[in-house]
């Protein structure tokens, strides 16, 4: 008898509350609203206000990253393509390069265009990047250069999601099921 209790409770909980809960990690109230001053793909200074009115997904990475960054961006792109047109157009992915030495505006534009029109490349000097990464309590760092001058860059792997008012809502990870990400992006569009 006892072995049925947990599954029954879990399914009651799922059916009862499923619609009210975010399916990825809820960070409402745990992280500050989106604020930054960075350089965009045209070399212009841009701040977070520019993206108000849209759901924004913030991800830190670098273009010389063959595996992790494209995988995360491709997953976000796959989720975004499943959204209704209206919601999709009001969703933007901010790819913030923490490797400004190699990622100039041109490289960033070419890179983000490869993932879709919802992807925007941003970067900044050390001061601007430090301010933004500290704000969201993440780190980045550089590995040693090899003989060819290549180096690895460590960066946070999760994606921060903000609603149209720039309020922090979610932490999306690559381990989250695609359906969960799509459902949360749909809900995020209606949030606040």
């Amino acid at each position: 008898m006892g072995k049925w209790v947990v599954p029954v409770l879990v399914s009651l909980w799922l059916t009862g509350c499923g619609e009210q809960e975010w399916q990825t990690k809820d960070i409402s109230g745990l992280m500050p609203p989106l604020e930054f001053t960075l350089t965009d793909e045209k070399g212009n200074t841009v701040d977070a206000e520019r993206f108000r009115g849209k759901s924004t997904l913030l991800y830190f990475g670098f273009t010389h990253c063959p595996d992790v960054c494209p995988t995360t961006l491709a997953r976000l792109g796959t989720a975004i393509r499943q959204l209704d047109d209206e919601i999709r157009e009001d969703t933007e992915v901010l790819f913030v390069s923490v490797d400004p030495a190699r990622d100039d505006p041109e490289t960033l534009k070419e890179y983000t265009d490869a993932f879709g029109s919802q992807f925007v490349g941003l970067t900044g000097d050390k001061e601007a990047l430090d301010a933004l990464t500290r704000r969201y309590r993440v780190t980045y760092g550089y590995g040693d250069k090899d003989d060819n001058g290549n180096y690895d860059v460590s960066h946070s792997s999760a994606v921060f999601a903000f609603n149209g008012q720039g309020e922090a809502r979610l932490l999306i990870r690559d381990s989250d099921p695609m359906e969960a990400v799509v459902a949360d992006l749909e809900r995020l569009a209606d949030d606040a």
């Binding site: 063959p66 595996d67 494209p70 792109g77 796959t78 993440v138 946070s156 999760a158």
Partner: protein
């Protein structure tokens, strides 16, 4: 036009020592590639391209169906000046890449080079590459065995 006379000796007229030596030489020359083909298989070999000359990632599943343990020590390709084996790691939400010098592949086992794990980091393109092209990459093993695999190039946005 004159052709050079070719000296032919029937095999059974050769002294047995020479026959043995020739036999071993033939075996060494002919058999390793055949062994490799029979006991190593790959699936889903693909290169996820990024724009320009940004490093690309090579993914595949390699299966050792033979009864000898093998050690993968690297890869090379005429399409790239530099190919390295890497592994992506995620520690407490921080992603980074580690070089991989060698990778054991026990008899009967398989290893997956897949997103967010082991991958080939393909650098310094020898020529521009477009999505949909086929590119040959040769996997190198410690015992001098080699396996040339045809990889399909795929879009950056593909999972």
């Amino acid at each position: 036009m004159r052709t050079l006379p070719v000296l032919t000796i029937p095999l059974d007229k050769l002294p047995s020592l020479i026959r043995t030596v020739c036999g071993i030489a033939l075996f060494l020359v002919a058999v390793p590639p055949a062994l490799a083909a029979e006991t190593l298989t790959t699936e889903e070999a693909r290169i996820r391209l990024l724009p320009g000359d940004l490093p690309a990632a090579g993914y595949f599943t390699l299966r050792n169906t033979g009864d000898t343990d093998l050690i993968l020590v690297g890869a090379q390709s005429p399409a790239f000046g530099n190919v390295e084996m890497h592994r992506s790691v995620d520690r407490d939400g921080v992603a980074s890449m580690q070089p991989v010098e060698q990778l054991e592949l026990a008899a009967g086992e398989q290893i997956a080079f897949a997103p967010q794990g082991y991958h080939l980091m393909l650098m310094q393109r020898a020529r521009p590459l477009a999505v949909g092209e086929e590119v040959e990459i040769t996997l190198l093993f410690e015992d001098a065995r080699r396996l040339t695999v045809t990889f399909q190039t795929v879009s950056p946005a593909s999972l």
